[in-house]
Symmetry: C2
Subunit: 407 residues, 2 copies
């Protein structure tokens, strides 16, 4: 009799975005003329840039002719893209990587979700709270979360990100084996300076922990003292895997491409010998993945051309101007706001007496503006909502105008 | 201290294709003027078809404009493609499916590799021998294979596919919980008739087993009595998951798109209640996958247009003509050959006194033609080599000419 992975049965129904959709739909049904604006959406609105579009057309034409047709590509990605990423994203920051330390994939979510495949079930996992739900759910599926209690998952070490500490987690009291860090952070929009991140790298070095570093939003960093890669911190190559994304900077949410860096120094002792995580991840990818589309890898390469880089910069500036409009709009209206300076997310303290969902409802009812309740990302998100900078300028301005006049 | 998934350490180095590459490279180094032809390659050589190319260009242009840009798509795939697949591949064969029973992915290999994620570690897995290595390796990684012994993995139930039985496996003596079947078969090129496949569906129904049915080569079927989908067999919806691919028919090996069918009737009892595999797979995909590129899904849709279908038929005919040339070429020269009538693979009995590798070397040395040693797919592949029909016509003809004159 076939048996399922019973860890799946422990997972509660995914609730946050379906509940938002339900409440918005109910509101629209009751108020059919309402013009609802979403500041909750995590998806981009700007289209693919001209350089990317041109590269895609060119690659499609190559695939149309036998002489230039490419079938199966390397599971790890084409060398042209691996080298381009290293040259532009890492080398200028003093981070030396070899091509076979960079794995091209169909996006950071896949790699973040799948990385647990090469990790043991008995690892203790630490997660910031609030947090991107994929880290939690993939560890529940992998049997590393324990049981769900009122205080969260019994085997997970939670790292609360609280307002009084600037949303920066304190080093854990219980020693975790695996630590997920996402900086710039989703959902709080805050980030870590070099010295703050160094604390975590040093902790991992001292405790034999592995850091899974989600750098999906690094292109939005503006602060001089904020590292773009964890490998800018000495020793990180021995303890950290880094996940990168083209989704938000180049509009690749519907095109699907990212990369994961697994340095060769990253080894784990098994029965007295050193096992390389790079080799394990390579084996995983070669067995359960067949590479990212050639045309998509050419599109990703185009992001790094002089034109491509200018276009990405324009995209990022556009969204970060939205972030400033949202941040200053709410702040000017007496709200406490955080983030939005090195990240496309703004973390808004709800007014006194309002829970996350309570303020979500108020914004929807009074202003027809949709936010994402912070508590949906974890208990420490209670009393906050997340706003995102990915909308169209005019709609963002209109949303803020309504906040000012109606709240 | 972080610990790895120690099942990975049990995996021997992947050997087959690297050893082929090593021997071919050594031969070329020693014989720099040799014109080596590969009949071993599993990748297509014909480019994307005009309908697919046009659909890609059109979709890229949509992604270039804000008004038609699409970001994150549904993790399960767009409805337009799910419905098109059902309409053309299943409905005409009397198989009724709902859109949410079809999951679009970046290829059958990913889904076949990842499906174990929702299955328990304690399942006993049955595999045909010889077999596609992904089934083996992904179960080793998942902890279901036991230990590697001289007789294979200790917990795997092997189903030998022997010449005296037409390469059709006998029902197992030990009852497995999960059974992988690939028909038309890679590597033997043989297939199952309706009544032969029915035996397996009935067995699974009687024994509570799950069949993971790899139908990647269904488009190559020519026999009237050969089912294209396992769901053509009564009761299969209760016991089978089916994996499909666009790789070999439409040249999608470098574009990456396939689909997996998980019927809603497919349930497993856990603590007295029925759990739906469809729901579990949906949860897996929503957590560890972010959908297939929109432009690639539009390309897949184009395969089903009247023009697209004609083009795919041309591709399939082209490759199957290659198969006939290879089959008849070897047969006419006194060899025993199998397969190649409902599949793009030909399974060649090596001449008396030759092992798989021995005959591989002889073909390479005497004719400069590369085959794939059958033993690389499992012990019952010893004494065979696999030839594939994916080459260019002129090269295939040249290879056969050399066999006839030099072997």
């Amino acid at each position: 009799m076939v048996r399922i992975n019973e860890n799946y049965v422990k997972l509660p129904e995914s609730y946050l975005f379906s509940e938002i959709a339900r409440r918005v739909a109910a509101y629209k049904a009751a108020n059919p003329k309402a013009d609802v604006i979403s500041l909750g959406i995590g998806d981009v609105t700007r289209p693919l840039t001209p350089s990317v579009v041109e590269a895609l057309h060119r690659a499609v034409d190559e695939q149309a002719v036998a002489a230039t047709f490419r079938g199966y590509g390397p599971e790890q990605g084409y060398d042209f893209l691996r080298r381009t990423i290293i040259e532009h994203d890492f080398a200028p920051r003093g981070v030396k990587l070899e091509a076979d330390e960079v794995f091209i994939s169909d996006g950071a979510k896949s790699d973040l979700g799948n990385f647990g495949d090469i990790l043991g079930v008995d690892n203790v996992v630490a997660l910031t709270d609030p947090v991107y739900p994929v880290y939690v759910d993939s560890n529940v599926m992998g049997g590393r979360a324990g049981e769900l209690t009122d205080a969260g998952w019994s085997r997970i070490v939670y790292l609360p990100c609280l307002q009084e500490r600037g949303f920066i987690p304190a080093l854990p009291e219980t020693r975790p084996d695996v630590i997920y860090l996402c900086y710039p952070n989703n959902p709080t929009g805050t980030t870590l300076t070099r010295s703050e991140l160094k604390l975590w790298v040093d902790y991992a070095l001292q405790n034999g922990s592995l850091i899974l570093f989600d750098a999906a939003y690094e292109a939005f960093i503006t602060g001089e003292d904020v590292p773009h890669s964890i490998y800018e911190i000495e020793g990180a190559r021995k303890v950290a895997v880094e996940f990168r994304s083209f989704s938000k900077t180049a509009g690749f949410t519907g095109l699907r491409c990212g990369c994961t860096v697994v340095p060769k120094e990253l080894t784990v002792k098994v029965d007295g010998r050193e096992v390389s995580l790079n080799k394990l991840w390579n084996r995983r990818q070669c067995t359960k993945f067949n590479g990212t589309a050639y045309i998509v890898q050419r599109a990703a390469e185009a992001i790094y051309s002089p034109e491509g880089r200018r276009e990405v910069r324009e995209n990022v500036d556009y969204y970060m101007n939205n972030a400033a409009i949202i941040r200053e709009g709410f702040r000017g209206h007496g709200f406490e706001v955080f983030g939005g300076q090195d990240a496309p997310y703004i973390w808004l303290r709800t007014p006194k007496g309002f829970t996350s969902w309570g303020f979500f409802d108020r914004m929807l009812d009074e202003c027809n503006v949709v936010a994402t309740p912070g508590v949906g990302f974890g208990p420490s998100g209670e009393g906050f909502v997340r706003l995102t900078a990915f909308g169209e300028r005019q709609r963002v301005e209109e949303a803020i105008e309504r906040i000012k006049t109606k709240l």
